[in-house]
């Protein structure tokens, strides 16, 4: 499917999504509570068949918290990016996509560890790299560690 066809298809499934123009890869901005439904539909529908989650990235913008999903189809080889954001920066929570793509397990654990993003319905949400008793989430913009991080 071409980008245009995918765009049409997504707008048919979920009319409230926002698709910004001029991005190098088709990017779809989805409301957080609708992401799971859309992702499931995109994977299971035979003409899109997005069966491989390449990468899941949490981003702290300072005012909001976002998660990017790079997904591709091994059958048709088309790639798109799903983006979802929340204004609740202190306790951000999204639905886990583990039941759709199992590879999300480690990606989500990493995002939880370093950014403090909670994923609902994740089977085993623990810290990935840091100790269980670590205070704070290092990749957040306001994280401070006067001993280990030298400000220049």
């Amino acid at each position: 499917m071409t980008d245009e066809q995918i765009k049409e298809k997504i707008l048919k499934i979920l009319p409230e999504v926002e698709i910004p123009e001029g991005k190098p890869t088709l990017t779809v901005i989805v409301p957080p509570d609708k992401l799971f439904t859309l992702a499931k539909e995109l994977k299971e529908s035979p003409d899109t068949s997005f069966d491989y989650l390449i990468c899941l990235t949490g981003v702290d913008y300072g005012k909001s918290m976002s998660v990017f999903y790079h997904i591709t189809s091994t059958k048709f080889n088309h790639t798109i990016i799903l983006k979802t954001s929340t204004q609740n920066r202190e306790t951000p929570a999204f639905d886990s996509v583990y039941s759709i793509w199992k590879t999300a397990e480690y990606h989500e654990r990493e995002a939880y560890d370093l950014l403090g993003i909670t994923f609902n319905n994740h089977p085993d949400l623990r810290r990935m790299f840091l100790d269980e008793d670590w205070v704070g989430h290092p990749l957040r913009k306001d994280y401070s560690d006067p001993i280990n991080i030298v400000e220049r």
């Binding site: 890869t25 069966d51 981003v59 790079h70 590879t103 290092p138 990749l139």
Partner: protein, 373 residues
């Protein structure tokens, strides 16, 4: 008085043992907590983070040319490809057209690096399974590649050779001669690897039918690189989303359907042949020209998100940069192929013996610094 357990009770009890953090078969500081029933593996719980250096956090304070030097330290056996991921992302974001000469050299360097990485994997894997001679064979043949790297880039392991827009410096005048000599030598020597290890009955007994992962499971769990291709998952980024000159050269994507440890082994041996084929097609045709495009002194990326998929020796690496228009990125994410491949270890090793766990984790070819970043 403590209750005395009957022998049959003990046999049915699951118990935990620690493999690592210092264990010869993990090839780095990684800890596997293994649930055992007798010697049958029931569950493997990896614990990583022992050498977590916070590279992604450090990147947020550095400029783009500085970031390159950190990426070498992730997957140190695929240093060139790691550099390429950042360089290609920056070039894509700025819309820079890089000289043809750079593309040729980058492709050749990447493939040399892939051969060197697979050689080291081959010798370490052979040693894990008890074939000590493999270790000497592999390291002996890796040496000429490191010499070629040293001549052109100045260092042997972590080269930092690529820069946004081109290369750090031009190749050494002897580069083409040395590479051709190496290819000639290695074409003769690679069949020895098969004679020594591939055909060995003990080796085959220990790898065939061990640690099977189906194609559907491999796609769902994101198992990429030679490990994924051993399960029949056509995940080679060089074919799926070509970069460098991979759309112009002729090579085969090595796929096996079995999904066991032996299939993952065979993919890597075949890839060494394919890499040599790629280098041979390019080495005589390197065009004259600049080794770098003209770049501004301070590189600022436009606002937005940019990513580039790169095939390292272990799987699919993604460099994802979120920029707010400054000279530092807002966020950099590296999708570590090792970390995601590790997630499949639990499924692969379930109901196999503890000795097979060494073979299975060896066949995934894990590099721990890439995992922890």
């Amino acid at each position: 008085m403590a209750e005395i357990l009957e022998v049959k009770d003990i046999a049915q009890q699951e118990y935990l043992i620690n493999m690592g953090p210092q264990h010869p078969s993990t090839h780095g500081v990684m800890r596997l907590v293994v649930s055992l029933n007798g010697e049958i593996v029931k569950n493997v719980q990896p614990h990583c983070g022992y050498i977590h250096r916070g590279i992604e956090k450090m990147c947020e304070k550095l400029t783009y040319p500085q970031i390159i030097h950190l990426t070498d330290r992730m997957d140190y056996l695929s240093a060139h490809m790691n550099n390429a991921s950042v360089c290609l992302t920056v070039e894509k974001a700025l819309g820079i057209e890089i000289p043809e000469r750079v593309k040729y050299i980058r492709t050749i360097m990447d493939e040399l690096q892939r051969i060197a990485s697979h050689q080291l994997w081959w010798c370490a894997f052979g040693m894990d399974l008890g074939g000590l001679t493999c270790f000497f064979y592999g390291l002996r043949d890796r040496e000429p590649i490191l010499d070629i790297f040293e001549e052109s880039t100045g260092s042997r392991l972590i080269q930092s050779y690529y820069t946004p827009g081109g290369l750090m410096n031009d190749i050494h005048p002897d580069f083409q001669k040395k590479v051709k000599e190496f290819i000639k030598y290695f074409r003769k020597i690679l069949p020895e690897y098969d004679q020594l290890l591939t055909g060995n009955v003990i080796f085959q007994e220990r790898t065939k039918g061990i640690g099977i992962l189906s194609k559907e499971e491999a796609i769902n769990r994101g198992l990429t690189g030679p490990s994924g291709r051993g399960s029949g998952f056509a995940c080679d980024v060089r074919k799926r989303a070509p970069y460098h000159l991979y759309d112009k050269v002729d090579f085969k994507e090595c796929l096996y359907e079995e999904g066991d440890t032996f299939a993952r082994y065979k993919v890597r041996i075949d890839e060494m042949w394919e890499s040599m084929k790629i280098i041979e097609q390019l080495i005589d045709n390197i065009p004259e020209g600049d080794y770098t495009a003209k770049m501004k002194a301070v590189i600022k990326l436009p606002e937005g998100e940019f990513f580039q998929r790169v095939e390292t020796a272990r799987g699919e690496l993604i460099c994802f940069i979120v920029s707010d228009g400054n000279k530092n990125p807002l966020r950099v994410k590296f999708r570590s192929p090792n970390l995601i491949n590790l997630a499949s270890l639990n499924v692969m090793s379930k109901d196999f013996k503890i000795a097979d766990l060494v073979a299975i984790s060896g066949s995934l070819d894990l590099v721990i610094p890439c995992m922890d970043r």
